[in-house]
Symmetry: none
Subunit: 223 residues, 2 copies
């Protein structure tokens, strides 16, 4: 999940981009002129900017150039038209990392996006996230939104197992095996009790339930 700023004054295009990127799980902010774009870029520090070359008030090249002047290293993809050929080199010169020629296909957009995001946002393999819930294997820190949560050893193991298999239904036997190390299922309700402990802590402030019951099977981490 990345924070993406769209600077585009064609509403149809910016709406489309906003929807598609949000659907992919990104946080999207839209500006419709160069001045707004520049201001927002400096305020919210996005991971990537989709920047139209042609913009009211301040064109894309200028926006890019001014950000770089201040040392901003954000990934910038310039949106240019076929007739903008002469600006492509100028754009890279002005600090853009890449450009896409309008009109472009979804596939093209996602490819460029992924390539440019990878460069700037290296992922931490110890950091597991699911919606507003996060668990860090290195620090054993658990957060719901920005509320810190303290877990006991067993609670932690159970949550780690759940969050490393998001949306997958985990049955009782597997949970017992992974978290408690049993090879057989006794007739104890230990799983239920720990699910309850976790729910109490994860939902302490009336947040949405994330650990769902799948009757007759087990549990699943799901919205």
């Amino acid at each position: 999940m990345s924070k993406i700023l769209i600077v585009e004054n064609d509403h149809k295009l910016s709406n489309f981009l906003e929807q598609e990127l949000q659907y992919e799980g990104h946080e999207v902010i839209v500006a419709n002129d160069g001045i707004n774009g520049l201001t927002l870029a400096r305020e919210i520090h996005p991971d990537l900017i989709l920047l139209d070359r042609e913009l009211p008030k301040l064109n894309g090249l200028e926006v890019s150039r001014r950000l770089r002047l201040k040392g901003d290293k954000v990934a910038i993809i310039l949106l240019v038209t076929k007739d903008d050929i002469e600006y492509r080199v100028a754009g890279l010169d002005a600090g853009a990392d890449d450009y896409i020629v309008k009109p472009f296909s979804k596939e093209e957009l996602f490819n460029r996006l992924k390539a440019n995001l990878r460069r700037t946002t290296e992922e931490d393999p110890d950091q597991l996230n699911f919606l507003d819930l996060s668990l860090n294997r290195r620090t054993r820190e658990i957060k719901r939104g920005d509320r810190n949560i303290e877990l006991t050893a067993t609670e932690y193991d159970l949550l780690e197992y759940l969050i490393s298999h998001p949306r997958q239904v985990l049955n009782r036997d597997k949970i017992l095996e992974k978290v408690w190390g049993y090879d057989f299922s006794g007739d104890s309700n230990i799983i239920e009790v720990y699910v309850r402990y976790l729910r109490l802590k994860l939902e302490a402030n009336k947040e949405k339930r994330l650990i769902q019951t799948v009757r007759g099977v087990g549990y699943v981490l799901k919205e």
Copy 2:
């Protein structure tokens, strides 16, 4: 080898495409207007549709939109002319995955084709689909179109058995054996009852019946 539907009313172009694609080893079906295209798409379930934007009776954008409305996930490539610029974004908005600008080279066509086929042919062995019905063994998610459906454990087992044998008539004994286990005692109408539960849920929005009765034998998943 893939099943490709061409919806194009320019005979010269559609013949050319048909020949080239057949030569590449694909199964090709041709429709020459939007209505036919839509009908065929729903009947034969192609892997990919080459869809002209401008078509008699129903234009390409409408065809695309209507397929997506019913939850169809087929890959769609829109064929647009240089003058259709304003439709390109609209096309992606209407659910197309990609577009090609006419006229295009053979190479361009094959490239786009390959890219878009790869995306849809990547199969998830846990994902079972039948028409607009889908079941995921990992997440136990059931969908009809894009409507989520909640099933109980027994309902799920029954549907999983049905959807993993599409179009095959399953007799009562086999169903009892697979879903309830051999040792099920007594003669009861438990299968009828559960078929009814499933039908109620799968057809909650007046969708077409998928679980058909085969009198004297059992049931079959079929349109």
